[in-house]
């Protein structure tokens, strides 16, 4: 038993190695969220551009919209950002940002620097709304329909492929119904 603790570093390393091995070969894939098909959790949050005003989920009823969880400290957000900026230029579907656990000043700078694809961004400084939505990490994107039901969840960056194969067809269907 006593010599077990000397093997411990080796065992920890082997586990780490397995993760690294899998990390080399696996690709990120979408995970079904328990919230898909359920009503989007309610929120009422201050707006990033004007903290005096708030935005609630009810204000967005009657339209199909995307909720994109982002933060200025998030490296993967940089990756998806051009895709969102391009999407916002097309004006197909409004994208609302949930600025997650961030400093408002840093967030505004980030948007000024990289372009602002959001119709509006809301501020979730301590991540409370993020918990309601079951945010694993940043970035995440939700498709929410006219009745306020979550129809799709993308964990990780929105790639052009995800956008054209999953999100946009879904948005078109939902908008038509």
């Amino acid at each position: 038993m006593k010599s077990l603790r000397f093997i411990l570093p080796l065992l920890v390393f082997v586990v780490l190695l397995m993760f690294l091995w899998v990390g080399l070969s696996l690709n990120p894939r979408e995970v079904p969220s328990p919230l898909v098909g359920k009503p989007a959790p309610a929120f009422q949050l201050a707006r990033l551009d004007d903290p005096a005003k708030t935005l609630a989920d009810k204000d967005l009823r009657g339209q199909v919209w995307l909720l994109n969880v982002w933060a200025s400290w998030c490296v993967s957000c940089m990756e998806e950002h051009p895709v969102l900026v391009e999407l916002s230029k097309q004006g197909v579907v409004p994208v609302y940002g949930l600025n997650y656990k961030d400093q408002p000043a840093a967030a505004q700078q980030w948007l000024a620097r990289n372009g602002d694809p959001y119709t509006l961004s809301m501020v979730d400084p301590d991540g409370k709304v993020g918990i309601d939505y079951g945010v694993y990490g940043v970035p995440e994107t939700y498709v929410i329909d006219k009745a306020g039901v979550i129809r799709y969840k993308q964990i990780g960056p929105v790639t052009p492929k995800v956008l054209s194969e999953h999100i946009l067809p879904l948005v078109k269907r939902l908008q038509a119904s």
């Binding site: 006593k2 010599s3 000397f6 093997i7 570093p9 080796l10 390393f13 082997v14 780490l16 190695l17 993760f19 690294l20 091995w21 899998v22 990390g23 080399l24 070969s25 696996l26 990120p28 894939r29 979408e30 995970v31 933060a71 400290w73 998030c74 490296v75 993967s76 957000c77 940089m78 990756e79 656990k101 000043a105 505004q108 700078q109 000024a112 620097r113 694993y136 990490g137 940043v138 970035p139 995440e140 964990i155 990780g156 960056p157």
Partner: protein, 665 residues
């Protein structure tokens, strides 16, 4: 011809490394002096060929040989000479060659400065280092040949990544790699000691200066990288908790723990198993860092070319080196005896807690860095762990460690009286608390974090001064020499420790004050507009187009005044690199001891106006000043008399030893 020569030199180096890895090790097991004696000339010969290879690659870059793929991809005929030279290590292949060059420099240094070591030890150390060298040489030759030809040759190169076209980039990677790779010496010492079963205070004394030296290089390397990010990325940030930064920071944290744990091993014969494990882990993290950076398993702002085949190679190498080292550890460590016992209140305890805190901090950084990878591997998606996580775990871990830094130099080995310690330190604590309560008010804002930072910084600095006073008084009580003589009699190792700890205090001041009092403004400015930041007036006098060697730029002229008096004229630039089609922000900074004025150009707006970022950064240079002091402390400690004395003493016994051949060779 020259590139082929370099390629051939690498193959020769690989062959020499093969000999150096096998024969001396067998010689050490069999007690064969001739085979052991091969280690030193082999190490030096290997260096010669690696230097030739490196020089060939550098020549190809300097001479614009665009028939070499690496040169064509990473250089351009318009690139200034110094960057063409630095481009030698600007690519993946070149940086690996730099890695091997550094490893060989350390190896040769060990072969030269090891006259006092038993030849078995030297043979084993150089053999272990040669094994690492083999791994990297194979990696270079099979997956990342820097000399690969491009036929037909390109007319011109694709240019060096503009981010790397900076004086800091010329020095930062060599420094960082010196540190990274330097831990291979401590690693090889540990492995050699495990093989030979000779884990004692002498072993700790031998490996200590090497470890401290590597640690000092790493400290400078990280500080320079941080300084580079500060003025090149144009955001005014100095640390981003980016995976590549973390890759260098983890070995630093463990290396810091190792430097302290070696002190206990040397002075008290304790913590031996722990020290060996730390030596293995420090270098393992250097290798892991290489893997993370080179394999592309993590997203990072450092956009290096990545290739899964290379990832698999490094992973296999990682598994082999670290796996074998940890297996050896599991096998041999249980036989190592325990060191001297110590009480709860003693210097050993303080250093043990410091070690645990540093180690946990490194583990927390590792977890945060790899967490996205873990989730990804478990199929839970790609995410990013950011500064909120790192800062919330890091500060609570480091605060008690820094607090202990003030106490540990006072505590006696083995056992001390808590009341006595409290009595000796009460003034230092009083000054620290008073500063923490009052100083932020005089600066205009009091927050708990500001107070904590100032408390810790003042505490460490004042405790250091009190400690010197105590040591001088002790010396004078026994010898009654004048103060200046007493100061000179304090050993260099002690001064090194003080300077390094003082560096930590300076660093904390920088971090705390810049966090608490910085002013950042992103404003729209047209020619003639003025903005006030931090008591300074910034006036945009005008903008002009200028032509660089390989870029076009818009240069702003901003005059800074304070109370109508001119302070500085700043020239921030927005450069557009024509070959790479990439814009770059060149911030203009007026540096001062107590503040930086930082101006960078954002995006152009209508009517010739620009978004201009104007930052006032109080005490930001103290961050790097502190880091340089830490490194300086390390260098001072390495020059301690006892390491030189030990060398001189060792001459007599070793010349009589049966293995004298190895010493001569």
């Amino acid at each position: 011809m020259i590139p082929e020569l370099g390629h051939f030199a690498l193959i020769v180096a690989l062959c020499i490394a093969g000999v150096q890895a096998v024969l001396p090790l067998i010689g050490a097991q069999r007690g064969d002096a001739t085979w052991m004696a091969l280690a030193r000339p082999a190490a030096q010969g290997q260096l010669v060929f690696v230097v030739i290879a490196f020089a060939c690659l550098a020549w190809s870059f300097v001479a614009n040989d665009f028939s070499v793929l690496n040169v064509a991809s990473n250089s351009n005929s318009l690139l200034p000479l110094r960057y063409r030279f630095a481009a030698t290590w600007g690519s993946h292949e070149g940086s690996l060659l730099l890695w091997v060059l550094m490893l060989n420099l350390w190896m040769t240094a060990v072969s030269v400065f090891s006259r006092r070591l038993p030849s078995e030890m030297v043979a084993r150390i150089l053999s272990v280092m040669a094994m690492i060298s083999i791994g990297f040489l194979l990696f270079l030759l099979f997956t990342s040949n820097p000399f690969e030809r491009l036929l037909p040759a390109a007319a011109d190169g694709r240019d060096l990544n503009p981010l790397l076209q900076d004086p800091g980039m010329v020095i930062h990677p060599p420094m960082l790699y010196m540190g990274y790779v330097g831990f291979s010496v401590a690693f090889a010492f540990a492995i050699a000691a495990l093989i030979g079963g000779q884990l004692d205070a002498t072993w700790a004394r031998w490996s200590r200066p090497w470890t401290t030296m590597a640690w000092a290089f790493l400290t400078v390397g990280i500080a320079m990288g941080s300084g580079w990010a500060y003025y090149v990325l144009g955001w005014g940030g100095w640390w981003f908790w980016d995976p590549v930064e973390n890759a260098s920071f983890m070995p630093w944290l463990v290396g810091t723990a190792l430097v302290h744990s070696l002190a206990v091993s040397e002075k008290r014969g304790g913590f031996k198993i722990w020290t060996v494990l730390l030596a293995i882990i420090a270098f393992s993290l250097s290798l892991l860092g290489t893997f993370l950076v080179r394999s592309g398993v993590l997203t990072s702002v450092h956009a290096f070319a990545t290739d899964p085949k290379r990832g698999i190679f490094i992973l296999a190498f990682l598994a082999l080196v670290i796996g074998a080292a940890l297996a050896l550890f599991a096998w041999r460590a249980p036989k190592v005896g325990l060191g001297g016992a110590f009480a709860l209140i003693s210097r050993e305890s303080a250093l043990l807690v410091n070690n645990v805190l540093l180690f946990v901090a490194a583990a927390a950084v590792l977890l945060g860095t790899l967490y996205p990878l873990f989730l990804d591997a478990l199929g839970l998606g790609k995410i990013s762990v950011g500064p909120p996580y790192f800062e919330s775990v890091f500060v609570p871990l480091m605060a008690p460690a820094v607090f202990l830094m003030g106490i540990a130099p006072f505590a006696r080995w083995k056992q001390d009286q808590p009341l006595d310690l409290a009595r000796r330190l009460k003034w230092a604590l009083a000054v620290a608390i008073a500063s923490a309560l009052l100083l932020p008010f005089t600066l205009g804002l009091w927050t708990p974090l500001l107070a904590l930072g100032i408390l810790l910084a003042v505490w460490v600095a004042v405790a250091g001064v009190v400690n010197v006073r105590e040591r001088v008084l002790q010396l004078r009580a026994s010898t009654s020499v004048p103060v200046s003589t007493a100061l000179r009699r304090l050993p260099r190792g002690y001064w090194g420790m003080l300077v390094a700890h003082f560096g930590v205090a300076v660093f904390i001041v920088g971090v705390t004050l810049v966090r608490g009092y910085e002013v950042e403004k992103d404003v729209r400015m047209g020619p003639g507009d003025t903005v006030a930041v931090g008591g300074y007036q910034f006036r945009l006098d005008g903008l002009k187009r200028i032509q660089g060697p390989n870029y076009d730029a818009t240069r702003g002229v901003i005059s800074v005044t304070r109370d109508e008096r001119p302070v500085a004229t700043l020239h921030p630039e927005k450069r557009f690199f024509t070959v790479q089609q990439m814009p770059m922000t060149e911030a203009a900074i007026d540096t001062g001891l107590t503040r930086d004025l930082y101006v960078s150009l954002g995006e152009p707006l209508q009517d010739g106006a620009w978004v201009v970022r104007v930052y006032y950064k109080p005490f930001v240079t103290w961050i790097w000043g502190g880091a340089f002091l830490m490194a300086l402390g390390g260098i001072i400690a390495v020059t301690d008399r006892r390491y030189r004395l030990a060398r001189r003493d060792a001459i007599a016994p070793t010349t009589n030893a049966p293995t004298a051949v190895a010493q001569v060779a």
